[in-house]
Symmetry: C2
Subunit: 237 residues, 2 copies
DNA sequence: GCAAAAGTGTTACCACTACACCCATGC
DNA sequence: GCATGGGTGTAGTGGTAACACTTTTGC
């Protein structure tokens, strides 16, 4: 940390810029969507990218991440304040940003609702399957994949799915979220039995009326038993 | 990323310093040891702390982490180059360093051997139970705990323990490493059966002669089947 | 009554745990 | 031969996966 007495070389005084990038996810009709930003400047003008900002000296990474969502995508500040936000990993490849050395701390944000984006802004919700590998600028493909991998991991032993759904939900909705993230189908009967047995979710009344067009038995509503994101003793999916 | 046209305020131009801190771990006689550094300057002069350096503009985080080990603790450069090194998390509390805003990327390094520290240097191997909570400066306690938690997690579903042992080892040694990290005893018979059944380890001959002072059956030697750190399908401890 | 959606039960299988017992060596 | 460390087997238990079946609604 102490600078040497001799005249410092440029590489000893120049420092990497620190930034944050945010992957905001939302589950809509059994599909995962990410909030992307259409770039309005070079490089990668016009491309869809993750929202991000340089970190200021007087703010935390979490603060910077929420600031990125608000200022870059037109998300309402109070909406951004309520999002689940957690650090994923730090990306540091030397030439990841052609403008200069920037190290970025990737964050995962989860939203229970498809939050409204300010129409004039550059933000847009994009379904994940419509983001081909290699289509995002910088190293944002890698950041997205790492984030999804992290989400997949935490889904197996935490109640993090609660952050992607409203207070109450049908079991079929919950299962859809799990299936969308895990990328495989789950057995309906076993899914219900297990999640109830380990006490991850509990009943919250019955939904009024049916859901489908052709009728069908009205579903129960459920809620997560814990409001905070907590780890279970063992994996359960 | 684009600077505003108006005259920038200090907080818009000042940036956090980026650093790395390294938790180098080694398993010795069923105990985990960490490489710590006795500080030779303020603040926290004389205290034991994690090795760390500020990141230069032209180096990766991994490079900086190895540089920290070599320059701060007197570890041989070729030894440092062979260590398993992975990113853990980024720590960003506003006042974590009294000298100024510094964001640090914590790294976990694992060594198969108790690497020799240069005698004149400030480095020392300290057994983890001899590092009381709250005894490390800065937020290094939190960094250490987070690193151990990560190691504990990866132990459950990867072969990362291979990085803490030599090429071949007795099963009892391996079990000791697992027990030291998990903080609980494991059943010898089941441990052996499971690790062999899932193919995590394989036999590598029989050790010549006995180990104990009072005799005993000569143990088999084992090795990990995979040399790279890879995830299993399911947790196994 | 029929189709659709949701809820429940059953069974076979597999994995995990705990424990006991057997084997090979030094002294 | 006995203590010690290492290797192997097994029975009981509990969780999981696959599947069939029942309930409740709309039309």
């Amino acid at each position: 940390m102490k600078r040497s007495q001799a005249r410092p070389t440029p590489s000893q005084l120049e420092r990497p810029i620190l930034s944050v990038d945010v992957v905001l996810l939302h589950a809509d009709r059994a599909k995962l969507h990410a909030l992307l930003l259409r770039r309005t400047e070079q490089p990668f003008l016009g491309a869809l990218a993750l929202p991000g900002v340089a970190v200021r000296v007087d703010e935390t990474l979490e603060f910077a991440a929420r600031r990125a969502l608000v200022t870059k995508t037109g998300l309402a500040a109070d909406h951004a304040a309520g999002l689940h936000l957690e650090q994923v990993a730090t990306f540091d490849a030397l030439f990841r940003d052609p403008r200069g050395r920037t190290v970025t701390v990737a964050h995962m944000a989860l939203s229970a609702a498809r939050l409204p984006i300010e129409p004039g802004s550059a933000g847009a919700w994009i379904e994940l399957s419509r983001i081909p590998r290699g289509s995002l600028p910088f190293d944002h493909d890698e950041i997205l994949q790492t984030t999804l991998s992290r989400l997949r991991g935490k889904l197996r032993y935490t109640n993090i799915a609660a952050r992607l759904l409203g207070d109450t939900f049908r079991l079929e909705e919950l299962q859809s979220v799990y299936e969308a993230i895990l990328g495989r189908t789950l057995n309906r009967s076993n899914f219900r039995t297990k999640l109830l047995k380990i006490g991850l979710i509990e009943r919250a009344g019955v939904m009024a009326g049916s859901t489908g067009a052709q009728g069908g038995r009205p579903p129960h509503l459920f809620r997560f038993t814990r409001q905070d994101v907590a780890a279970e003793d063992r994996e359960f999916v």
